[in-house]
Amino acid sequence: MSGPARAGGEGAATVVKESRRACIVGVGQTDYVKRGGSAESEYRLALRSIMAAVAEAGLTVAEVDGLSTFSDERSGQWTLAGDLGLRALRFATTTAIPGGGGAASAVAEAALAVESGLADVVVVYRSLCQGQFARIGRALAPDRVLDTPPALTEAALETEALQAFTAPFGVLGPSIMFALPMRRHMERWGTTTEHLGQVAVSVRAHAARNPRALMGGRPLSLADHQASRLVADPYRLFDCCLETDGACAVVVTSAERAADLPNRPVAVLASAQGTDGPQLGAAMLNAGSTADAYDTGGGRSVAGQLYARAGLGPGDVDVAQLYDNFSGQVLFGLEDFGLCERGASGPFVAAGALDLGGAMPTNTAGGNLSEAYMQGLNHVIEGVHQMRGDSTSQVEGAEVCLVTSSPGIPTSAILLGRS
């Protein structure tokens, strides 16, 4: 494998044996359908996506000895291992990076297992049928009206105690939480709703070329975006991600094992996770940040560690998959990871930067906004396609792809490299 050696800390030199270097060798997904559209259970889709990724890798399921996932994944590793007939499950993990912040971290933990020798073939998976369970967009709202308002109740958990300072004020879902830092960015830097709309429009154009994309057949214009209803200002309907039923998975193994497999391996060049400042859970976005850092994605320290570990900089990134639960999150990703100047992301995207042929082609499969809401593991899959050279919106000659997970909450990111 070519590419720089991986470092253990910021600038530190914990060199991984080349033969153990982690590569992504297979990807798989079920059909992506609208929330409620899956005829099969979320758990069955988890099984199918894992089987599909392993088959695409040219491996057999029995060879899998690790399972890694993230967020509130309901399909448990040990149950899956039994149904998949694994000979041994030697590594099973769910990253503590919450929600959409964790897709890259789940890949990173799989890579750590492979590079340390804890496991040889780790599948990273996410199955999410919002039609069968609670809707994430409403997860913070107790969805009932009581006839008689009760007295103050005792908080059973710390998260519940924190929600006492959001829910009674109508902060009841991700769209509201994530709107707050974006509004401040707009007031401070002159970012506009049209800039946000351009993110949605550019990403939709990528989706139009991707047969897997849920919104592939639905062209979107800036006028359509501007005419869509307001959800939580500045976010309109078309600034918000999809609600999807589906599952997807990627297979991580060593460079040594990858050499015998049919696909061009995609190197995991580096990973990083964390936040820029204190966080009080997802209910209080950027609660502990300074006033100056409030209107960011809180990912600048993660970006610094990521680039240092890879021996690369923002200028080396050829294509990006930036987490997009809301359009403005892409702007935070661009700024935090140095792909444009701080505060300049609005004009940057308005100039067509995210388009194929633009300064930083982004979310080239359609992302959470237009492909599917697989909470960012679909971003990893598209990064793999870009590095293999077979994306439906291929960036010619691309050698490095940045994949980020959700800004605004504890987050993670990986750099993928063409081998």
Binding site: D143, P168, P181, M284, D295
Partner: protein, 143 residues
């Protein structure tokens, strides 16, 4: 009869030993924030420990109730059935005067969403949500 902006059936706070004094003070229309007894740092929401110095000792300091608008969102979609008649409403983060920049998430009331500006002065406006609960909202300072 005090002013009302939100329905009784809004989600209610669940409290614990760290947060109960806040809601008790609010019943008396006193806006309080925690302040570390050891290093003097203000903090909100209430927490068991000071993230600056590690002290578990805190006092509750009454603040003026004035502040400035830090950011906001005008919410149009009711994410709770009780809010169907309340939308659009303004979620606002207020930087509280005299607290070293402590931010407080609440609502801006009696304000047209078209006139909001970062830094505009606001002041607390208490809303009686029933016999057990009083919540601090904020309104623009007039005159």
């Amino acid at each position: 009869m005090t002013a009302r902006w939100f329905p009784d059936a809004m989600p209610r706070p669940a409290v614990n030993e760290d947060t109960r004094p806040f809601f008790e003070a609010a019943r008396d229309h006193r806006l309080v924030v925690q302040r570390c007894r050891s290093c003097g740092t203000h903090r909100h929401p209430p927490r068991p420990v000071c993230a600056t110095c590690g002290s578990f000792e805190a006092l509750w300091e009454e603040v003026s109730g004035r502040g400035t608008l830090f950011t906001w969102s005008v919410v149009h979609q009711p994410f709770h059935p009780a809010l169907r008649e309340a939308v659009p409403y303004v979620v606002a983060i207020v930087e509280l005067e005299g607290t070293g920049g402590t931010r407080f998430t609440s609502n801006l009331v009696d304000a047209g969403p078209e006139h909001l500006v970062v830094g505009q002065p606001v002041e607390v406006a208490w809303e009686e949500m029933g016999p057990e609960l009083t919540l601090p909202r904020f309104r623009p300072v007039t005159g």
